[in-house]
């Protein structure tokens, strides 16, 4: 599937997650954030870059792991990305929805 995001044609899956990280940039992130009613602050960007780093290192992301990351605690993670922070933050970060759940 393809979707117009921030004036560019971006490859996404059925749920709107980017399927090609090389198409991600900050403008794309801003627009996905807006769709999810999140206004990105410097704090958000820190978390996003942490998530992208973990993904690059093939670390499976989970709420528990993020809580122990020393980057953000779970309470703040929820405050930054309300209602399902893991699925919203990963979508904004342009990485796959975590499959931590089986």
């Amino acid at each position: 599937m393809e979707k117009m995001i921030a004036g560019k044609t971006i490859a996404v899956n059925e749920e709107g997650y980017l399927t090609d990280f090389s198409q991600w940039d900050k403008a794309v992130a801003e627009e996905i954030a807006k769709e999810n009613n999140v206004e990105l602050t410097p704090r958000h960007w820190e978390v996003i870059s942490y998530l992208q780093g973990e993904h690059k290192n093939q670390v499976a992301l989970s709420i528990r792991k993020i809580g122990k990351s020393n980057v953000v605690d779970i309470k703040e993670f929820y405050a930054l990305f309300p209602n399902g922070p893991l699925k919203i933050s990963t979508k904004i970060a342009g990485i796959p929805k975590p499959a931590s759940c089986l």
Binding site: I63, K75, Y78, C101, L102
Partner: protein
């Protein structure tokens, strides 16, 4: 004489003891299996015990009766594994050396991980049903409960048998209807996931069933604490859900022995090659069942399929041949939906559960992802299969270790 040591005589460990007892030359190999417990519980029975469908004696036998004569059962508490010198240290000071170690120490609930869960009201208004005691205490509670808000809750993934909490909600609906008090009970299913299950097509079918049965679903709920005094659960976003009776599945963790041995991740699950079942850190350590971190369901059927492949790989390891990376994450689960019916799902790492027929393509007799009485009979028959075939490592006819794609509607 070389030695294989198996840690844990639960479902996976017992199956491996039986497989290896058949397959290895006994003049060359001694097989030891270590466990501190006396009883072997049929864990799928914990789902039925609270609803008076099974009696305690249906689901408990002794460990000894399933360990073959050629295998030495060592009773005792394991202190830790020392992988660098191939030793297992026992709590009483005994040291057991091994050439090959198979870890099958499973997973268990850790209610202490959630603040407030283990309070005064534990097993009074807050219950688990993942332990024998929890399921039995819950049965006694339900027998006299007069109704109110029943909340069925999952703390975090992964958990053993990810469909069990849903089945519990379905069976509760059925149970209270039979007691003519369904109108007095409000059932809510609370999950950290975005829907009823982890796989999209099954979630669609199961969300629909929840609706049919008037079970409310609260999704994306990541619990922060239980407030036992005010009878509510609170999530990190500040969302609150009140209950009169809370049936929760606490965080699941691997055994403490894994933590003491420094072999696990943050939940004490052991990093394992998902195809070969060899531990990533030590070539002569293999992991089977719930103890590993592989992205497959933590379920007896998975351990059964793994056992067939792991047995082959142990033989290859002994003969210095390359291991087969053949395990595909195959799981096969009956899902009780109440009123004498059940669903069946069959899936692996790459294929989610879909509709179709099982085990014979196009024939059945079991239907995948559809409610039927036949599936329910299958689930009940499974207890006999478990005690009489599965634990003994007998191959179940027509059901292959890797998932079959024929007969499925992808």
């Amino acid at each position: 004489m070389k030695r294989i040591v198996i840690l844990g005589a639960g479902t996976a460990g017992t199956m491996m003891a039986n497989h290896l007892n058949h397959e290895l030359k006994r003049a060359d190999w001694e097989i030891d299996i270590i466990d501190e417990r006396e009883e072997h519980y049929y864990q799928p029975g914990y789902l039925f015990l609270p609803f008076d469908i099974y009696e305690p004696e249906d689901i408990v036998k002794t460990i000894d009766e399933f360990i073959p004569k050629g295998v030495r059962l060592v009773k005792g508490k394991i202190d830790r594994v020392q992988p660098d010198n191939n030793h297992v240290l026992m709590a009483d000071g005994r040291v057991m050396n091994y050439d090959i170690l198979i870890i099958a120490t499973g997973a268990k609930i850790a209610p202490e991980e959630t603040p407030g869960m283990l309070g005064e009201e534990w097993h009074k208004t807050v219950f688990d049903f993942y332990t024998f005691e929890g399921a039995l205490n819950l049965r006694n509670k339900l027998r006299t409960w007069e109704g109110g808000k029943l909340v069925v809750h999952i703390t975090e993934m992964p958990i053993k048998c990810p469909v069990a909490p849903l089945e519990f909600a379905f069976l509760a609906d059925s149970y209270f209807q039979n007691k003519n008090m369904r109108d007095k009970v409000e059932i809510t299913f609370v999950t950290p996931l975005s829907g009823a299950f982890t796989k999209p097509k099954a979630t669609e079918a199961l969300d629909h069933l929840l609706q049919d049965k008037h079970i409310k679903i609260e999704s994306d709920f990541a619990i922060e604490s239980v407030d036992q005094e005010n009878k509510k659960i609170i999530d990190y976003g500040g969302r609150e859900i009140s209950y009169d009776l809370l049936v929760t599945v606490p965080t699941n963790k691997g055994d403490e022995v894994i933590e003491r041995s420094g072999l696990g991740d943050d939940l004490n699950f052991i990093p394992t090659n998902k195809g070969s079942l060899q531990s990533l850190a030590n070539k002569n350590i293999f992991v089977i069942g719930d103890a590993s971190n592989i992205p497959a369901s933590k379920a007896g059927s998975v351990a059964h399929f793994e056992a067939e492949i792991l047995t082959e790989n142990i033989k290859r390891y002994i003969h210095d041949e390359p291991l087969k990376e053949e395990f595909d994450g195959h799981a096969n689960c009956f899902i009780e939906t109440g009123h004498g019916k059940a669903l069946l799902i069959d899936f692996n790492y790459s294929h989610e559960p879909v509709e179709g027929t099982f085990p014979f393509p196009g024939v059945g007799p079991l239907r995948l992802l559809k409610e039927s009485r036949m599936n329910h009979m299958g689930k009940l028959a499974f207890r006999w299969i478990y005690w009489n075939m599965l634990l003994k490592g007998t191959h179940i006819p027509f059901v292959s270790a890797t998932m079959q794609e024929a007969g499925k509607e992808f």
